[in-house]
């Protein structure tokens, strides 16, 4: 079902997440990933995407040129603070100038439909209003974008249509970070790594608006062990509350290594978790950091059933995508498996580009002799491998 209540020749202005797979050029990388998850029958919180078509229409007719002109004032190799200043100016301009943009009504309609769909009380304390996460989903999303995650482009526990409208525009504005601008200007800021796309500065932004999972715990997973490339494992990191502090690298998560074949949790490293990010209980919206109760601090943030469900979802996802994946998840109140939701997924880019490591250096009697003479050290490999750095 495509929920376009308006659109332009470039496409509909909003698309619901369960509308089947859509090109990243229209719904951005994040939106594309979520829609693929949903199309695969995986549990994704309901929501919609404000498409790049909506963005393009909003900045068309002059705003785009005004932005370009301001940026063009930056000399090549401009100092970073000058870039920062220009970026902030551009973002403020964009948020202000797009108020009442052509897709406003379409966004409001989509949000109202989401509210109906989630039923009363879904995600919100008031009982009549859905709370959502609003996340930017750039058309050229790749690994390089990750460093922005959790800073400029994600708003949690957003309540009410007015706040949604504003956050959507703020997400649009997050297209113009200092870094992206510096890059486009041929400046010094390098791409994040070898995996950055050649055009790391996307020229259009989609926005995902998704029902907020009231996360009891959340985190990230990878369908291989990133420390050694072992593809028989799913590695899960998790914290109490919302996953954002983990994604931003602000806290020490629990870490679980699960065997894909048998489902055994082969390693369980439980961290001390003094704080968690939760919805602001007073405002009923937004996020605050609170202290974790003493008895939960060093307790594992996921139980066996939740890990089992997460592993099942991760395996399905990987099989469907045909390559190793990483992603984010949230566990709502209630019990697994229903409580476990995927909130993001993308191809893993480091190990999956390498060939799978060869291990059969010897065969037949040579292999047996190697075992006996210690060339293959059973004990060393069999027991307690070194704890890897995370």
């Amino acid at each position: 079902m495509t929920g376009s209540a308006g659109g332009s020749p470039e496409g509909p202005w909003t698309v619901e997440l369960d509308a089947g797979e859509q090109p990243a050029a229209l719904v951005g990388g994040k939106g594309h990933g979520l829609m693929a998850l949903s199309a695969a029958g995986l549990r994704v919180p309901p929501g919609f995407v404000v498409t790049t078509a909506a963005y393009r229409r909003a900045v068309a007719g002059g705003l785009d040129r005004r932005i370009e002109r301001r940026l063009a004032e930056l000399p090549p190799q401009a100092p970073l603070d000058a870039v920062e200043e220009a970026a902030a100016e551009v973002r403020a301009l964009l948020v202000a100038a797009t108020e009442g943009h052509p897709a406003t009504a379409a966004v409001a309609d989509a949000f109202a439909r989401l509210g109906e769909r989630c039923g009363s009380g879904a995600g919100g304390p008031e009982g009549d209003e859905v709370c959502v996460a609003v996340r930017s989903s750039s058309a050229a999303e790749d690994a390089a974008d990750r460093s922005f995650a959790g800073e400029h482009d994600t708003y949690l526990w957003v309540r009410g249509v007015d706040e949604v409208q504003r956050r959507v525009r703020e997400c649009w504005a997050s297209l113009f970070t200092a870094r992206a601008i510096a890059y486009r200007a041929g400046g010094a800021a390098p791409a994040a790594g070898p995996d950055a796309a050649p055009d790391a500065a996307p020229d259009a932004m989609a926005v995902v608006v998704q029902q907020m999972v009231p996360a009891r715990a959340a985190g990230v997973f990878m369908t291989l062990n990133p420390s050694n490339g072992d593809r028989s494992k799913v590695v899960v990191e998790s914290v109490w509350g919302l996953g954002e502090p983990l994604v931003s690298g602000l806290v020490n998560p629990d870490r679980f290594t699960v065997d894909k074949v048998t489902g055994d949790v082969v390693r369980r490293e439980v961290a001390d978790k003094p704080t968690e990010a939760v919805r602001d209980p007073d405002a009923g919206r937004g996020v605050v950091t609170v202290a974790v109760d003493e008895d939960r601090r060093s307790a594992p943030s996921l139980d066996r059933d939740e890990l089992a469900e997460l592993t099942r979802l991760a395996k399905l996802l990987e099989r469907r995508a045909g390559c190793p994946q990483d992603g984010e998840f949230a566990v709502a109140a209630g019990t697994a498996p229903r409580a476990v939701h995927l909130v993001q997924a993308r191809p893993e880019t480091v190990w999956s580009r390498r060939p799978i490591r060869r291990v059969a250096t010897r065969t037949g009697m040579d292999a047996i002799l190697a075992t006996l003479t210690g060339a293959t050290q059973v004990e060393k490999t069999a027991r307690r491998p070194e704890r890897e750095a995370t």
Binding site: D230, R231, S232, K233, R268, T363, V378, E379, T381
Partner: protein, 611 residues
């Protein structure tokens, strides 16, 4: 933390055990004449095979494997890095140390091993078939031996059949045959065992290399599941339970307080007689099951099912109850095999494509040898030892009846050479028709040895002696005894007296899962009826005789054994967590303490002092 275990020459003799050395053969003892060499070696208590103090007669158990394992490793197959496993007895306990081959010999030995072992691997199934024939022939041999008090007058047949020997001579010869036949089957035991382990370990190492965190259990699940005979004794009891139901005598079976009582009841009806005949047919060989907590057959004094038929009856009653409750009691063999194929297939798919042929080859060989690794226990440890001990007891009754000792059990406080001497003395007396020098001679010696035995039993021995190795790398030590660099460190720490009530034990992760429950310590299969639903079974080790208890317990913690131990295998099958090879759980835990058993990491933690 101390950096070494006590020297064997510093370990004190327990009070009241002075003179214990005379109970064991001189070649088995530490001695000043070889102190210099023995003090430099690392010895660990072999609680896997010999968790208890040895009776002098039972020393033969150790001797059987000491010699045969050594000869096959050192002299026959030329295992490249490993000679045999040396033994010493200290304070009645067996300590062992693997002997490395000289490094300069390893290359030449590797070449020999390659030629010799290949022949066995290439012809494994045929050789194993021959092996079964050889061992069952030996079993028939010792079953045919009988010991009875010598007759006043030999039967006429001795004359008219021209037998040409006396019953006394035959008693001397039969004891030698009994010992030598047992000895011979131990040769066969190691004919295949270590080659089997080498192939299994190779597949194990390959998997650990390819998938660094792969659980040990996953590897054994890819390999195991094929051996039918290992589970046959338990399957026979299940079959008898179903038969009882079919014949409508299940109520009688459940009501019986003992086998004796049940047999008397069943004799009264046709259906009862039919079942009883079935029971008796089944008992040979399927009740030739030892009930020792450690290595089955390790000691003479644990009843076999055949000797104490209340034991198999208790299992049958358990199965009848489960049948009446509508449960399925059959082993899910097909499911196990289907799961084995699924697991193997999924891991295989995760390998680099070029590694898959090597995986197939190693897995194929591991599966071939694994049937032997699992099944030999039934042939040797159960059938042969159960028969050997049964015949030894027959001999002890005959000798006691002839006045050689006050009571049959006294014989087991004699070394086997002393038993041979006693037989000769007794036979000489019988032959010439004058009193033999017997009970009066042994009475004070046996009385002293009984006191010493109790004094030795009262003491918890050190888990190891001498300087520990920096790394435990010898593959058989790791695999068979479950001893690793970490566990040796753990022993050193706990010998430091670090535990002050907050006990945490470490062992091997035998079967996955985490559970909490009250401790139930069971040293002996006869105490299994104390186990309540949901208890955590804490024991020296388990054997097939313990099978019925697994449907009641929440988890198993054992002192000895690696991931291939009975407790680990059965817990995996029942889906129960198990931590095996903890070293001293029986000594450190107490009934009723609440513990958390983490079968994923191999840790047992006491969480409160009462349940």
């Amino acid at each position: 933390m101390p950096d070494r275990f006590p020297s064997p020459f510093e370990v004190a003799t327990p009070p009241g055990a002075e003179g214990w050395e005379r109970m064991y053969n001189w070649y088995h003892l530490f001695g000043d004449d070889r102190r210099e060499a023995d003090e430099q070696r690392f010895w660990f208590a072999d609680r896997l095979h010999h968790p208890e103090v040895l009776h002098p007669y039972d020393e033969i158990q150790c001797e059987c494997w000491w010699q045969s394992l050594g000869a096959f490793n050192t002299r026959i197959f030329a295992m490249p890095p490993a000679f045999g496993v040396d033994q010493r007895i200290l304070n009645g306990r067996l300590y062992v140390t693997p002997v490395p081959a000289p490094p300069e010999d390893v290359a030449a030995r590797a070449e020999e091993f390659g030629r010799r072992a290949s022949h066995y691997y290439e012809n494994w199934d045929a050789i194993y078939a021959e092996w079964k024939a050889k061992v069952t022939a030996k079993l028939d041999d010792i079953k045919a031996i009988t010991f009875a008090p010598l007759p006043d007058l030999e039967p006429e047949a001795t004359v008219f059949d021209h037998v040409g020997t006396s019953a006394g001579y035959r008693m001397i010869a039969d004891f030698d045959r009994l010992v030598l036949t047992m000895y011979e089957t131990y040769q066969y035991h190691f004919e295949l065992l270590n080659l089997g382990y080498a192939a299994y370990l190779t597949f194990f190492g390959f998997c650990k290399n390819a998938f660094p965190d792969i659980p040990d259990q996953s590897i054994s699940r890819m390999v195991g599941g094929l051996s039918v005979e290992l589970y046959r004794p338990d399957d026979e009891l299940k079959r008898l339970a179903k038969e009882a139901q079919r014949l409508g005598i299940d109520a009688d079976v459940l009501a019986a307080g003992s086998a004796q009582e049940l047999f008397a009841t069943l004799e009264r009806t046709d259906a009862g007689k039919e079942w009883l005949a079935d029971w008796r047919r089944t008992s040979d060989p399927w009740f030739l099951i030892n009930t020792d907590p450690g290595h089955p057959g390790g000691y003479h004094y644990f009843d076999t099912w055949l000797e104490n038929q209340d034991l198999p009856l208790a299992s049958v009653q358990e199965y009848v109850r489960r049948l009446q409750a509508g449960e399925t009691i059959d082993r899910p063999t097909e499911q196990v095999l289907a799961e084995r194929e699924r697991i193997s297939g999924e891991y295989r798919d995760l390998l680099a494509e070029d590694d898959r042929p090597a995986f197939d080859e190693m897995l194929g060989l591991a599966r071939t040898v694994f049937v032997y690794i699992e099944e030999h226990v039934l042939y040797i440890e159960h059938w042969m030892w159960a028969t050997f001990w049964g015949k030894s007891k027959e001999l002890s009754r005959a000798l006691a009846a002839m006045g050689a000792f006050d009571e049959p059990e006294d014989m087991f406080f004699l070394r086997r050479y002393e038993v041979a001497e006693t037989i000769y003395g007794t036979v000489a007396g019988w032959s010439v028709g004058s009193p033999a020098r017997g009970a009066e001679y042994w009475r004070p010696i046996v009385a002293e040895r009984r006191r010493i035995y109790e004094a030795l039993r009262a003491v918890e021995p050190p888990p190891a002696l001498g300087p520990p190795p920096a790394q435990v790398t010898e593959p058989f030590t790791v695999m068979l005894w479950g001893i690793t660099t970490d566990s040796v460190k753990e022993w050193l720490t706990s010998s430091d007296g670090g535990a002050d009530g907050a006990v945490t034990l470490r062992g091997s992760a035998g079967s996955p899962g985490v559970v909490e429950g009250p401790v139930r310590i069971v040293r002996d299969v006869r105490d299994l009826d104390t186990v309540q639903q949901g208890d955590v079974l804490v024991c020296p080790a388990t054997s097939p005789a313990w099978s019925p208890v697994f449907s009641r317990i929440a988890a198993t913690v054992s002192d000895v054994g690696g991931i291939m131990s009975h407790a680990a295998i059965v817990c995996r099958e029942y889906g129960l967590p198990a931590v095996v090879g903890t070293g001293n759980a029986v000594a450190l835990l107490r009934d009723g303490q609440r513990v958390r058993v983490d079968g994923d990491t191999g840790v047992v933690a006491v969480i409160s002092q009462d349940g």
